[in-house]
Symmetry: C3
Subunit: 204 residues, 3 copies
């Protein structure tokens, strides 16, 4: 399906950019840049494909994705000055990757006849796991699990349910995709801008 | 099989409770509580299912498990006072989850015709991986791998072999399950109570 | 195929030895030694098998591998003095395991008709992931991702392409294996000896 593939390609690219910026900030070399970009761009989708027993994995079936990520990492390694200047926009590719992978994950899960609640969970896993794995690699507490951070998984969850709602309402695939990803993306930007967060559960 | 499903449901519930208590102690919000509970409750079984190529995964085939965990996390997030009071019993749900998932993992592996030693390893992986992944998420050295901690994986291993012994002796499934899980659970409580540990391998 | 199995057995053994030395240095007990050895010896190959949907997993199909690793860990736990003396040679089993698993991963990926670039990536994942997972378990930034370390993944990558080059040139399997693994191994030893490293990408 050309639509899904286009969205997937964009999701891979923006996630790779996020990974490269993240690794660059940690002072990694080219191999580190490529590895973190690889983990962020393909981590969530790989977990989704393994969970759904969907083979070949999306990046094995689309070998050119990996070459693009390789090229981006190479570009990032030789132009640290540009990368450095882009660092402050880290939020944008991260939020875009999360939003697009969320609706992709939800959509694939539906295709594999998962129940609705499971489909939303798989959407959230697909949308957020790349970032989690990148944080684990960099030996940080994944920001997803830090005490009371600004909404992240919650945005993914909302986007996933927006997708499911539009789908249930009988809307076409592009509309569901746009509605779901848009909800997650805008919600995330608003959350960061207004510093929305859930209360910590710890009693004091 | 109703017996296996009942045991699995209990194992999921107690593991989720352990995850919620753990995440609550770290001061996480609702999303963190749910995520850690999800990882502890489904991590070991997911790895087992992937290793054995068993699809759909047990929590996709039993979608209500995930909803129960979601409900528990919600309950935990709105009643921090109760959670706080339960924290000192952390050991009990942890030991129960480990014991039950160990015998489930061993039993499923046998069903997939794994050799005995492999079946016991898969039992241990199923029983302990949820806790390992939760520790990795929280950025701690998994207690499983800390120098000379009180017996944990060893209890799981013992429970797995008790199960295999009873199975080889021709006992019925419920007897094997009870014997294996009971062995692991009692061994674990005794180990913590008496502070049993293996000697560290480091030379001094 | 006896050649592949022999190489695989050697790769498992040297990786297990590396894992045991690593865990011993951290002062772990027998269970820790076995677990880290297990992770290093089977981590990369398991990921490869899951990625390629290759079942049963190589260590389930060859149950004796696990027993050998178990035996080695037991030997390591009761002879800390010997282990302590071997610690300074940590580099050798690590480089050998990486080299052998790299060509095994590349070879299996070709067999599953992966495109060349993907086959090389799967070779690198197979060759390096065991070490990455061991580092994550021990709660360190995987050395693979540290700023500007001496070449490691790069050696694996070079070995993988040497294998693919020889394969494309029409050489026999043993020649490809020897050429690829030899390239990775010698490259790694030279890199450590001469402290070759890529420049860090961070701008200063």
């Amino acid at each position: 399906m050309p639509l899904l593939q286009t969205i997937e390609f964009i999701a891979v690219m923006v996630s790779a950019i996020y990974g490269i910026l993240l690794a660059s900030r940690k002072g990694m070399d080219f191999v580190g840049l490529f590895s973190v970009a690889f983990a962020v761009a393909f981590g969530g989708g790989t977990l989704r494909d393994l969970f759904l027993d969907r083979h070949p994995l999306f990046w094995i079936a689309n070998g050119h994705y990996v070459m693009w990520v390789f090229g981006l990492a190479l570009f990032g390694a030789v132009t640290p000055r540009i990368i450095h200047r882009l660092e402050k926009y880290l939020l944008i590719p991260d939020a875009m990757g999360m939003s697009l992978f969320t609706v992709l994950g939800t959509s694939y899960a539906l295709e594999y006849e998962s129940p609705l609640f499971i489909a939303s969970i798989i959407g959230v896993v697909t949308g957020t796991f790349g970032g989690v794995i990148a944080d684990i690699i960099c030996n940080e507490v994944p920001s997803l699990f830090k005490p009371a951070t600004t909404f992240y998984a919650t945005c993914s969850f909302a986007g996933s349910w927006a997708f499911l709602g539009l789908h249930w309402w009988g809307q076409s695939e592009p509309v569901c995709m746009a509605g779901g990803a848009g909800t997650a993306f805008v919600f995330r930007l608003l959350a960061v801008h207004n510093d929305w967060r859930l209360p910590a559960s710890h009693m004091d």
